[in-house]
């Protein structure tokens, strides 16, 4: 009986063993990009599957234990304003927090928090696991499935393709309408520590060795990048008395606009500062030939902003010492991250070098430092929506696009996810421009520039940064998050209320006259401010560097209590109005060129009078707008003029053919 039953309906033939599943969106990789992409799609109502080589490594932080930092903090704020998860996740799992650059202008204030790494991962995993419409799948995706779209060609004349799904190493096929690639540093990854090489992803996790080939078959151009991480030390082996203690802020500001500030006033842990010295540098120099980079074993390009200690010692040989930060990896671990001393030197050299640092004389290494090499793409193959130009429905984000950093990854993942979902919904993609968000700058740089190293966000890359502050990310972007469907009704109403209060208070201050009475003059004198010659307004007085909203309270009789977040905006907008208006004018100029769209199938060979270099670059990058074209290196203002004239000519020809 039993045997018969097996043969009847339960026996699975070997050649039929392939499972076929269906989903709207497949997200490959569950790092910081993948998590945001998958959550966005699922929250926008699409049936989503997220693939990871290890469910235990969701939202892993394989390098530094912090979220945010200069300009990266801006990205987190923007992700949050749009309805992403990163800000909320760090607010719940941080163990120290600091607002950087507070002595400088408001535009460069930036939050940075130390995370409890394991809590960060755990909490994000819970969010994913409990998200409606989202399935987690532990599997290595090794093939992308795509079909040619009959009759349609891409700009190079090859058939345009459409993504149809993915296939895992075990042969399971997932049909999907869109796929988001967020493979991070896992593609054909190898880790190097001196002479020893292991073919794994970060932290010894399984590498993804098969997908690259499939991508190349689809005509995707790959390149190889490199990055690295320092050692982790056993806390019990460190002598902290030889280091300077670094505290968190007394009053912590949350990352998320939805977090109640009271919830983040927690007991914080310290970081520790120490320095390398001549002896450290001598050991490094004497063993340089054993570094895989200097020995030429590493082929990938590393980031200049995150140099290994070897690089620092070689390139800045005049510096007698470099800073070293010891940062806890969490509350329930003894591991300490050695910030500033990443390395790919052999383990024995590493230990000797670390032990020259005051406080680390007897250190025990839990994990050694290593460099990691991986495959990623040249992002010029992407539209600013993060969709591939030659494969419809295929999107990508994160280190796979040639960036570096958790925050850069999350930002791209979110946009890639939103746009994958909108593609399926038949809606226009969300593209933030350089005047709207750091995210816009990040993505525009990635798809427009020839990046030769992992790209990191920097405040100097944002030309309109006085407008793109971390304090106003909600005012800039929440509306978009709401329209997309990632910001709740309640959060949106809160925003509208805040906007209203800012508007009214600003108007009130501009309209409140202050006479040159003796009381006023006395008050000004008291605060080191020059006396009034004629009557003025409260707003005018606020513009004086030595005065502020708070200081002026005694002169302001009709002042009503307002939330801090409102006062902050009012103060900044009044105090820096001149500078802000100047940037707004520049933005107007910039927007004009962004609005001039270039057709997808533009034939640059048909544009007479372009210089050769410009023609080649335009063909390689295929910009979506004249504005983007103007930012490609090698395209001159004259080429831009020629392009404008040609486009006018095109639309005339089209109009004529319609007649």
């Amino acid at each position: 009986m039993e045997k018969e039953k097996q043969g009847d309906g339960y026996r699975m033939e070997r050649n039929m063993s392939q499972i076929k599943e269906k989903a709207d969106v497949c997200v490959i990789g569950a790092g910081h990009a993948g998590c945001e992409a998958a959550l966005a799609c699922a929250r926008m109502g699409l049936d989503t599957v997220i693939f990871t080589v290890s469910v235990d490594s969701i939202a892993l932080m394989p390098c530094n234990p912090n979220i945010g930092g200069s300009s990266k903090g801006h990205l987190v704020r923007e992700v949050d304003a749009l309805g992403g998860e990163m800000g909320k996740n760090i607010d719940k799992t941080f163990i120290q927090s600091k607002m950087l650059n507070v002595s400088k202008g408001p535009a460069v204030h930036s939050l940075r928090a130390q995370a409890d790494k394991s809590e960060y991962t755990k909490r994000m995993r819970q969010v994913l696991e409990n998200q409606e419409n989202l399935t987690i799948k532990q599997a290595e995706v090794c093939e992308l499935l795509a079909e040619e779209i009959p009759g349609e060609k891409d700009a190079d004349g090859n058939p345009l393709k459409r993504i149809t799904g993915v296939k895992t190493f075990t042969g399971t096929v997932y049909e999907a309408k869109a796929v988001v690639l967020c493979t991070g540093t896992y593609l054909r990854a190898r880790c190097l520590c001196g002479e020893s090489i292991t073919y794994t992803g970060p932290n010894g996790l399984q590498a993804a060795n098969h997908l690259t080939e499939s991508l190349e078959k689809l005509g995707i151009e790959m390149q190889r990048f490199k990055t690295g991480t320092p050692a982790r030390m056993d806390k019990r082996s460190i002598d902290f008395s030889k280091m300077e203690e670094q505290f968190g802020d007394e009053k912590v500001v949350p990352f998320s606009f939805s977090t109640n500030p009271e919830d983040v006033q927690i007991d914080q842990v310290s970081c520790w500062l120490t320095y390398t010295n001549e002896k450290t540098h001598e050991i490094i120099k004497a063993n340089l030939d054993r570094s895989p980079i200097y020995a030429g074993i590493i082929e990938g390009t590393g980031p200049r902003y995150c140099p290994s200690i070897e690089d620092k010692v070689v390139k800045f040989s005049d510096k007698p010492r470099h800073q070293v930060f010891l940062e806890p990896e969490g509350l329930y671990t003894n591991e300490m991250y050695v910030g500033g001393m990443s390395s790919s030197l052999p383990e024995d050299v590493q230990l000797a070098m670390y032990r020259t640092v005051p406080g680390l004389e007897n250190c025990k290494m839990v994990r050694n430092a290593y460099a990691i090499e991986y495959d990623c793409i040249k992002a010029k193959q992407l539209y600013p929506s993060l969709e591939f130009k030659n494969i419809e429905g295929l999107f990508s984000g994160g280190q796979f696009n040639g960036s570096s950093g958790y925050e850069e990854a999350a930002a791209q993942g979110l946009i890639a996810g939103i746009n994958a979902a909108r593609k399926i919904q038949g809606k226009e993609p969300v593209v933030l421009d350089r005047s709207q968000a750091y995210i816009g700058v990040l993505i525009d740089d990635l798809v427009t520039k020839d990046n030769r190293e992992p790209y990191r966000m920097m405040t100097s890359r944002a030309e309109y940064r006085l407008l793109l502050r971390q304090d106003n990310a909600d005012l800039r972007l929440r509306k978009i998050g709401y329209e997309v469907g990632l910001i709740s009704e309640e959060e949106y109403r809160h925003l509208l209320e805040k906007e209203k209060m800012i508007r009214e208070e600003t108007a009130r201050l501009k309209a409140t006259p202050i006479g040159a009475s003796s009381v006023t003059q006395e008050f000004l004198k008291e605060h080191g401010s020059s006396p009034l010659k004629t009557g003025t307004t409260l707003a005018e007085l606020m513009c004086r560097p030595e005065l502020s909203y708070e200081i002026l309270a005694p002169l302001d009789e009709n002042r009503k209590p307002l939330p801090t977040e409102v006062l902050e905006q009012v103060e900044i907008e009044i105090k820096y109005e001149g500078y802000i208006i100047r940037q707004q004018h520049q933005v107007e100029q910039y927007k004009k060129m962004e609005k001039k769209k270039i057709p997808e199938n533009m034939d640059y060979d048909d544009v007479p009078s372009l210089r050769l270099e410009a023609r080649q670059k335009l063909k390689a990058y295929r910009p979506v707008s004249v504005g983007q074209a103007s930012r490609i290196s090698g395209v001159s203002p004259a080429d831009v003029s020629v392009l404008l004239v040609y486009l006018e000519h095109l639309s005339y020809k089209e109009g004529k053919s319609k007649e």
Binding site: S70, Y305, K319, F325, S342, S460, E463, R465, S609
Partner: protein
């Protein structure tokens, strides 16, 4: 589309009777208003009918600059389909320049090469089927302007601009690296040292602007290059023309290692004469570089003077020099005529593989040692000029104005920096203005900003964890 107001000289740049300065754009009339007066005093041009012409004067404050006829054409009935004002002034390069400068000072900006045509096209004035021609105009005018800019800027000026840019970039990189990595790089006490540096930068910019006003920024005159084999007497010729010892003259072949430059006036014609290293195949590294430069200068010359030592036979080096003369205006000096001549005009034709019937070379027998034939040489150059074979490069004035505009933009940005410093503004505010200054200065030497800042940050400052 909202645009700005542009201006340029619309007529040929020569000392002709009448010249036209054209202004186009939404503020064209307003701009002209600020500098136009009639006998009855100021009269708002906006109140005139379109397509009318008016008699009056261009005034710089109280000073009358020129007596003009001013034509007002209101949008859309003009070439560019924008409000347009044409100032018909007395021709004369200096006068037109002065008027254009006044226009620029009062709200217009200098038109880019081909911009009037571009606007006419984009605004629908030019038949769209002629797009190709329009693109051609834009392309070729820009190429010309670019070449002119590089060619006409004095080496010392481009050096000064380059070093200013370098210094500014360093300061921006320092500020930005501290903003990006505040735990590694501190800005404590920086403001004081920056204030001093910025003041110096401002003074140097002001000096450059003054030199632009004096016309000292640009190379002037006909670009004349002396070429020849070593020891043919090139440097002696330069000294003779300059009337003083400029170049070192010895009997040793290859004495002039690098090019020497001298402005010389011949019968009222301005020549920018460059004496180059003698051309020969050589193994000496320094001399080799000189020879390479000589070839480069020759390529850019308006007029080539080929000095031949007629007392020694021609060789393959002469053939290679004759190659440079092709498609160039040239004069060949058969020098050392005080010695026994072994080279004839026929020999040179033969050496160059030219037929005497097809090509006409200009020969003059000279002796730089005895000062013979120099008068004839000067006479020849004069004739070439008056027959239009050689033209004075008055477009240098346009380039000069363009550069001056860029310098003034840079100065304004630096003044903003100084104001921000006085107001104790945070560093991230004025580093933006420093960047604008850097960008403006880049226009002068034809350099874009690109990734300069990021590269500077990483190469000069040790960043990051």
């Amino acid at each position: 589309m909202k645009t700005d107001t542009i201006a340029a000289i619309a007529t040929a740049l020569s000392d002709s009777g009448i010249g036209i300065v054209r202004i186009s754009g939404p503020e064209a009339i307003e701009t002209a208003d600020k500098i136009f007066v009639t006998k009855a005093g100021r009269h708002p041009l906006a109140s005139y009918e379109t397509h009318t012409i008016h008699y009056g004067f261009i005034a710089d404050g109280e000073d009358i600059v020129d007596e003009v006829m001013i034509a007002v054409m209101k949008a859309p009935r003009s070439y560019t389909m924008e409000d347009t004002v044409e100032i018909n002034c007395h021709g004369g390069v200096l006068l037109m320049q002065k008027i254009l400068e006044l226009v620029l000072k009062n709200g217009a900006r200098m038109a880019e090469p081909g911009e009037f045509t571009k606007r006419a096209f984009l605004n629908g004035r030019i038949d769209l089927s002629r797009a190709e021609a329009v693109m051609d105009v834009i392309h070729s005018k820009n190429e010309m302007a670019l070449k002119a800019s590089v060619k006409q800027l004095k080496g010392s000026v481009s050096e000064a601009v380059r070093s200013l840019r370098e210094e500014i970039l360093y300061e921006i990189a320092f500020i930005e690296s501290a903003l990006d990595d505040p735990e590694h790089i501190s800005l404590d006490g920086y403001t004081e040292s920056l204030s001093i540096k910025v003041k110096k930068i401002r003074e140097r910019l002001e000096k450059l602007i003054a030199s632009a006003d004096n016309g000292k920024m640009m190379k002037e005159g006909i670009n004349t290059v002396i070429v020849g084999k070593p020891n043919a007497g090139k440097s002696s010729l330069l000294n003779l023309l300059a009337g003083e010892e400029k170049a070192i003259v010895t009997d040793i072949a290859g004495t002039t290692r690098d090019a020497l430059e001298e402005n010389i006036r011949l019968h009222g014609i301005s020549l920018n004469v460059i004496d180059t290293a003698g051309i020969r195949s050589t193994e000496d590294v320094v001399e080799k570089i000189g020879v390479e430069r000589a070839r480069k200068y020759a390529g850019e010359a308006d007029l080539l003077i080929y000095v031949v030592d007629a007392s020694v036979p021609l060789d393959e080096n002469d053939a290679s020099i004759m190659e440079l003369l092709k498609e160039k205006k040239s004069v060949i000096l058969l020098n050392k005529s005080d010695l026994k001549a072994v080279v004839s005009e026929e020999d040179l034709y033969k050496q160059a593989g030219l037929s005497q019937d097809e090509t006409k070379l200009r020969f003059i027998r000279t002796s730089t040692r005895e000062n013979l034939g120099i008068d004839e040489f000067e006479e020849t150059v004069k004739e070439m000029f008056f027959h239009g074979e050689l033209q004075s490069n008055d477009e240098v004035m346009i380039t000069n104005l363009r550069h001056k505009e860029a310098l003034e933009d840079a100065l304004n940005s630096i003044l903003m920096v100084e104001r921000s410093l006085q107001d104790n503004m945070p560093e991230d505010f004025y580093s933006i203005d420093l960047m604008s200054a850097y960008t403006s200065l880049g226009f002068i030497i034809g350099e874009e900003v690109g990734d300069d800042l990021v590269n500077e940050i990483f190469s000069k400052f040790c960043m990051g964890k």
